[in-house]
């Protein structure tokens, strides 16, 4: 079980501009109360859904975060999907061509993608696809008029905040395609940087599994190579990938911050960076806390999922 990292450190900052305004702000935000009180109050507030007020405009941080969150969620999910799909596929190919050139190339690819700064890769993509080829948009999540609105039946309104799903719920294919266009480059960038570890994991698991007797036996029965690879070997190597997905999630979020900044993607990461520029410390604190909670929840979910799947796999 994960423990939420405490953040008393974050409460020790007071780096603002002019003293009178500072005093006023302090009073307004309750920052003039003793430190332990602030901490306690804040933690309680988290459970109530109250993350304080933004220093910039005194609007509730929680609300701002809440509206920015789905964008990050969508980006995170898509990137993870790409990372896993690309990573596992390349890992499988790599293991099949053990020690041959293809294997080395793929491994090097995995290493190199990790060494590329995310924002750099993002910018390269922007240059090539956005500016150079004009195929894909360079930034933003969607053009303002085209936001999907989700399911609307009479007075009933339901939307997830995830534009992909919402546009489908709305039944609007055009919006769906448009969403994907905007979503593609950011998630590709983030996904590629993360796929390296999946390549390595899949490769080593496959190498082990491919040596097992029943794989050779399957080949001896003349089964097709794709069958052997995928339904035999991969099935057995999959569980570690799942755990790794959970572990990588933290990295994903970190990368999301950079990706969102690069692509002007209106998610929590960009919110964080914006707030930094404004020195809006309550907002920053709120964002960091939310990130932490998010990671903790996902790790918890993966732990539970693993416990659920594992004895089952024993069959």
């Amino acid at each position: 079980m994960r423990v939420l990292p405490g953040d008393p450190v974050l409460l020790h900052f007071e780096k603002m501009e002019n003293p009178a305004a500072m005093a006023a702000m302090r009073a307004r935000l309750g920052l003039d109360k003793p430190l332990w009180f602030q901490y306690f109050d804040y933690v309680v507030g988290i459970f109530r859904g109250d993350l304080g007020l933004s220093m910039q405009d005194y609007s509730p941080v929680a609300q701002q975060i809440f509206s920015a969150f789905p964008a990050t969620l969508e980006l995170a999910i898509c990137s993870m999907i790409i990372a896993v799909l690309v990573g596992v596929f390349l890992g499988v190919e790599s293991s099949k061509a053990y020690n041959k050139p293809k294997d080395q190339v793929i491994r090097v690819f995995g290493i190199v993608t990790y060494a590329i700064p995310i924002f750099f890769l993002g910018m390269i993509f922007q240059m090539i696809f956005g500016v150079g080829l004009h195929w894909l948009p360079v930034g933003g999540r969607i053009s303002p008029t085209m936001e999907p609105t989700g399911l609307n039946i009479g007075n009933f309104h339901f939307s997830t905040g995830l534009f992909t799903i919402d546009s489908l719920l709305e039944g609007n294919i055009y919006k769906f395609v448009l969403t994907l266009k905007y979503l593609f480059l950011p998630s590709l960038t983030l996904g590629l940087v993360l796929c390296g570890i999946f390549i390595r994991l899949t490769r080593s698991n496959m190498l082990e599994t491919l040596r097992l007797d029943f794989v050779t036996a399957a080949k001896a029965r003349g089964l097709k190579e794709t069958t052997v690879t995928y339904s035999y070997a991969l099935r057995n190597a999959f569980l570690p990938v799942l755990t790794m997905m959970g572990l990588q999630f933290a990295m994903l979020l970190g990368g999301a911050v950079l990706t969102e900044t690069t692509f002007s993607w209106p998610g929590l990461g960009r919110y964080l960076v914006d707030r930094i520029n404004f020195r809006d410390y309550t907002a920053i604190q709120g964002a960091v806390v939310v990130f932490g909670i998010f990671v903790a929840l996902v790790s918890l979910a993966i732990d539970l999922l693993y416990a659920y799947l594992d004895p089952r796999i024993r069959l």
């Binding site: 053990y98 050779t216 003349g222 069958t227 057995n236």
Partner: protein, 320 residues
């Protein structure tokens, strides 16, 4: 099937290991061939090479394998795949690990049948699977079980069932009974014989136990350190073993009828394949090795009708 001058090497970091060297034999229709040898003699490698499945870092470096006028080693990938499971089937040594743990028994069969005969429907395939299970002596209800729910003997039967499901010309059984207890062993071997008679297929029995193949095979090949050292009809091997190794093997079989028998073991231990002795590979353990054996490797010599031995003792005979 004919095998000519087959050589299989394992290219490891420590050097090249010749697991099989210059091996030739032929297999007639519905014939049972017993391949006998210690661990490391190359017999399993031989078996796997017949379907070109020698595991990395092994490779077949020389020789030809001809089945029904086709050269097995030169087949295209798809043709080779067709061969496996359909013409030549392999039964593996360890039934515990040879079946896919996440697939039901029935699924194994369906997959096999539909891979090679895609026009067959799933129900058809299941019907055939049921028949196979009956033939190998397992209740058809077991089709819905997973491999770990079956005992070792049953799993081996399933493997055999999978091997004969498509009526192959040749079945290669690699130590089919080593992982099983003695009582089950006999049953499995009998089963193989029954099936052979019923389906008219050739059977290659690979084992380290000479006693198993003496009664059940038509011809026997004795292997040592990658070489075929004797090759003859089994009656000949039993009554007239020529090679010292074969003789040693025979002597070490306990005979229940002889009251007062001392088991004789063969002196020495199996050779290190990276450091083979010069000359005849068996000479360090041979009770009658002479000078020549230490420096020259003997060729295969004809020592009777259909009887070949690799030993200088019989040099007067013509070279095979």
């Amino acid at each position: 099937m004919t095998v000519e001058a087959l050589t299989v090497e394992y290219w490891t970091r420590k050097g090249k290991i010749r697991a099989v060297e210059d091996l030739s034999f032929s297999l007639e229709k519905a014939e049972t061939l017993g391949v006998v040898g210690e661990s490391g003699s190359g017999k399993s490698t031989l078996g796997l090479s017949l379907i070109d499945l020698v595991p990395f870092p092994g490779r077949i470096t020389k020789g030809k394998i001809i089945l029904k006028d086709k050269e097995v080693l030169k087949l295209r990938k798809d043709d080779l795949r067709n061969l496996r499971g359909k013409e030549v089937c392999y039964v593996f040594q360890d039934p515990m690990t040879s079946l896919n743990p996440v697939k039901k028994i029935g699924d194994h069969f369906v997959e096999l049948i539909r891979t090679h005969e895609p026009q067959v429907t799933k129900q058809e395939a299941l019907k055939r699977a049921k028949k196979m299970l009956r033939d190998v002596g397992i209740q058809p209800e077991r089709l819905n079980d997973y491999p770990h729910q079956l005992s070792g003997g049953m799993r081996q039967r399933v493997m055999i069932g999978l091997a004969i499901a498509l009526n192959p010309s040749i079945v290669v059984a690699d130590e089919p009974t080593t992982a099983l207890d003695v009582i089950v062993q006999a049953k499995i071997l009998d089963l193989l014989n029954t099936l052979r008679d019923a389906y008219g297929m050739a059977l290659i029995l690979i084992t380290h136990d000479l006693s198993i193949v003496l009664q059940r095979s038509d011809r026997i090949m004795v292997m040592y350190a990658g070489h075929m050292v004797e090759y003859a009809p089994s009656i000949e091997i039993y009554s007239n073993p020529k090679h010292p190794y074969t003789q040693g093997l025979l002597k070490s079989i306990p005979n229940i009828e002889l009251a007062d028998q001392k088991l004789e073991a063969i002196a020495g231990s199996p050779p290190d394949l990276l450091n083979l002795p010069k000359g005849c590979r068996f000479w360090p353990r041979c009770y009658c090795a002479f000078e020549r054996c230490r420096s020259e490797a003997p060729p295969l010599i004809t020592t009777g009708t259909e009887h070949f031995t690799r030993c200088f003792l019989y040099e007067e005979g013509t070279k095979a």
